[in-house]
Symmetry: C2
Subunit: 148 residues, 2 copies
DNA sequence: CGTTCATCAACAACGATTGCTAACAAGCAA
DNA sequence: TTGCTTGTTAGCAATCGTTGTTGATGAACG
């Protein structure tokens, strides 16, 4: 099974263990991330949060997402789509990015042959490998058959 | 040999062929790109240009870089290092990105096995594949041996 | 030469993100 | 419960990279 973001209860425990407080705002963010099937931007998470807690500021959402990313419970992606995306799927995987609508799709495939040749890495220590396939999803390809 | 950005003379011809005018500012940018061994940001190109033409605005640099990228004479990279990088190497290749200093290094290696499995692409049309290896270059690894 | 249109510099505006700070609330203990 | 301590929040300003706007300049082409 896929290693998703932890449950709200687990994240609550983790936050408390780090001496961080668990506020209603944070609980709402935990729940939204846990239920999310996509790669939401901070803005998108904020839009969801304010449906139940209308006073939550975007600032708070950023803070909590950054905390989660720093704890390794979330992966922050910068795919050149304008805003950073927060990926609740922790299993190493890759991404399809649509140049039309910006949609990001997971690709749960391992490419075991992809590594930096020893003759070329020149002291570079690789900590992660990201593969991004850019193109157009079916919907966008249909919408713009010829020119952009 | 590597397919680098065209010479200033060739770029001049290309601009004129497109009905774009070739100003001293643009010629300076052409020359700087052609001599560049790295992946300069717009800011870095601007810093170089103003050494010979102190009046050139950052706006003009962006405009020319965008024109070149639109013509396919330059590849614009967004690697999450803050600013966009402009890559004068046109041959398909991949990148090593140092999380410490942000340095971007080319990796002239082809990974023929990297493609989206037919069973998973679900209508997605891939137009380009980017592989980014993140980690630390030798200098940054030496500077920060343990914690960041 | 003169017309015309792209370009220039300067500044404002923009979107995404972060810094700042006073008011506030979570967690803990008594 | 009550109170204390400390981290958190909301709101706004500021920052960064980038682009829009504009009046003036200047190149290209006839």
């Amino acid at each position: 099974m896929v290693d998703d973001v932890k449950s709200p209860a687990e994240l609550t425990d983790l936050f408390r263990a780090q001496g961080l407080k668990v506020t209603p705002q944070r609980q709402a963010i935990f729940r939204i991330l846990h239920e999310s099937e996509v790669h939401p931007s901070a803005e998108a998470v904020h839009a969801e949060v304010t449906r139940e807690l209308p006073m939550v500021s975007l600032r708070t959402v950023y803070q909590t997402l950054n905390d989660l990313a720093a704890m390794g419970e979330l992966v922050q992606l910068d795919l050149g789509t304008g805003a950073a995306r927060f990926d609740p799927t922790l299993t190493p995987h890759h991404h399809l990015v649509c140049d039309g609508c910006g949609r990001v799709t997971d690709l749960e495939v391992d490419f075991p042959d992809v590594s930096v040749p020893a003759t070329l890495h020149r002291g570079f220590t690789v900590s992660s490998t990201q593969i991004v396939f850019r193109g157009r999803c079916d919907a966008c390809a249909a919408a713009v058959p010829v020119h952009p």
